[in-house]
Symmetry: D3
Subunit: 139 residues, 6 copies
């Protein structure tokens, strides 16, 4: 029987929604206050879910301490207290929307899960920009 | 890569669970205090999820401001501070359960999503009657 | 050393804000959608706080099971799945605002606390109408 | 149209992660503080989701009062204020991880859902060990 | 009997902690990642509490719609989707800490409360920078 | 102007309510399931509040990183993943109620606050045993 196992981490970051191929006017028109030139920011919540069969010796699909360590090393240490547009290498040249950020986080974590879990594989990356606006990528 | 994008809205409404083809006794027996003739009410939370491919120009599957405006115009403005049994046209003649309410909300929103999103389609309508009782419709 | 001890209970009720000495127009003007004639409702959260000195034999200021039983018997059983304007004896002839409801709950509970606690007295009644609108009475 | 209906219950329990076929040193090495010999504990949150077609007479997939009663009788009454390793018959001889506990809860509830719902079947058992660590079993 | 009435609003903003009279090294040493030159940000939650006697005609200490309108006009419209250090006139020349921001919000709102409430006066301004870090000013 | 500054930490622990001078029967009668001989447990949330005047150079009453470090070193590292009755030196010979635990935490932290803050002093220790049962000590 397969089980989904989830770990929630958080980070605080600044960003703006801005397409550099557009005029400032078009950016304001499309993105509204999210295009504010001096940035705004959020307390992001990130939930990473792994699916697999529990190991009979530990009862674990994945050791949640190891999953937490992986998420921090590969993702949250790189975005926490940072500017998503300026400071984060894996977001360079990309729109700083939650959809794009979650997609990049998926690409980073997906190959790393089998390194820390015998049977687990990445099932979901869920990213809350606010408690009312959030995105998810499902396997 | 497809992404699920969610927006949470809320509304406060009165309702009762009451089948008019049954006696008052049977309604009390089946629905208990939910059949109270003078109504009771809830702070409902409504989460609408759209799935699609992010637009490369915006990074958006759907503009969440437009999704919020749609949900308010088509749903929450019609149920907020209302009586679900008496005041809401799309609930006339129907049981005012969360299952039925979520089903009607799905029917209203499903054809409207492509109007505000190029690639998006409705994926889920989730309705919390209380933090402990909730329903969801999945595509 | 005195300690404050709190118990959170909840109830779901219908109500409307309506002053019967005013015209319908004035009620609509002052109370807006809260005056909807067919009612609306909320999931109320009620936090009751008692202050006192812990009993050395139990470590308790007040047994929280007894406080919960008291709140249910004296308050939430009388308002849960009810209409605050029509069904609740202690709200008859009163405005069904959260301020007034919390005041009446205070009057009911204040003399009862010493019955279930040797050193405790009522310190606060806090009532959430929604997560964003709430009232409190402090000793 | 099928609807998912969920009920959230909670229980407080002690446990430790400990494989009796291993030395104390290996248990400490693998499980860290979770292997503390004198136990630790959690406020567990359990969400049980049933999927089915609403009954036209009630608007219900499943009566949530009956689902709550079932969960309490079959699960939470047996684990609340208990030690998962020592006091719970259905966990005897098993690792007290959330993955294993959720699996056992699934096995208990799955055959019972059709007893209280005409069209419903078990869809998900979700178990929060903490707000940041949780597991789920999906049909 | 006086009642405390609270309204919760939110805003998303960027900021950094930076004392311009110090070297970059000292700023990094004192403020750590909060001094990141390219900013970071938060979903702030702001709770404003007014104390007073309920008006017998309305049951209100203060009309919460008017309090919400006041907070938005005087505070959140000026900080939402903004940079606290660069874009907010009432924070010019001040440290952008939560302590200082809450103090400035107090100064703005305190004289305005009597304009929208006959008996009410400002009792508390509470500001959550994250769910784990928050400040409050009490009358 | 004085400001209250709060930091929330958490820990997971086992305990039981048991007065060793009483018979098992009396313990069961007074404490009910909380007296379960094999323990139960909770995810405790601890909020520590310091009051003082913000330092003009930093905008801080107290550096929240230092407050967090202090709480972890002096309190949560000693109770997290522990048994409150058996493993915690400052609870030896005391009832393991939330009232008593919060009182001991107050005694530990109160003299330490001036060490990490020029103007701050301890204002409140608030301890959630569950989201519905919590205690607080106020200066």
């Amino acid at each position: 029987m397969e089980v989904l196992v989830s770990r929630k981490e958080h980070f605080n970051a600044a960003h703006k929604l801005y397409n550099p191929t557009w005029s400032d006017e078009k950016n304001k028109e499309v993105f509204g206050p999210c295009a504010n030139e001096n940035w705004h920011g959020h307390n992001f919540e990130l939930i990473v879910t792994v699916i697999g069969t529990p190991d009979p010796e530990t009862g674990f699909v994945i050791d949640l301490k190891k999953l937490s360590t992986l998420i921090r090393a590969e993702v949250t240490d790189k975005v926490d207290h940072k500017n998503l547009n300026l400071d984060v290498d894996f977001m360079q040249g990309k729109m700083a929307s939650s959809e794009v950020l979650a997609t990049e986080i998926w690409k980073i974590l997906e190959p790393q899960i089998p390194v820390v879990s015998k049977t687990g594989r990445l099932h979901s990356v869920k990213l809350y920009e606010t408690p009312r606006n959030f995105v998810e990528i499902l396997a």
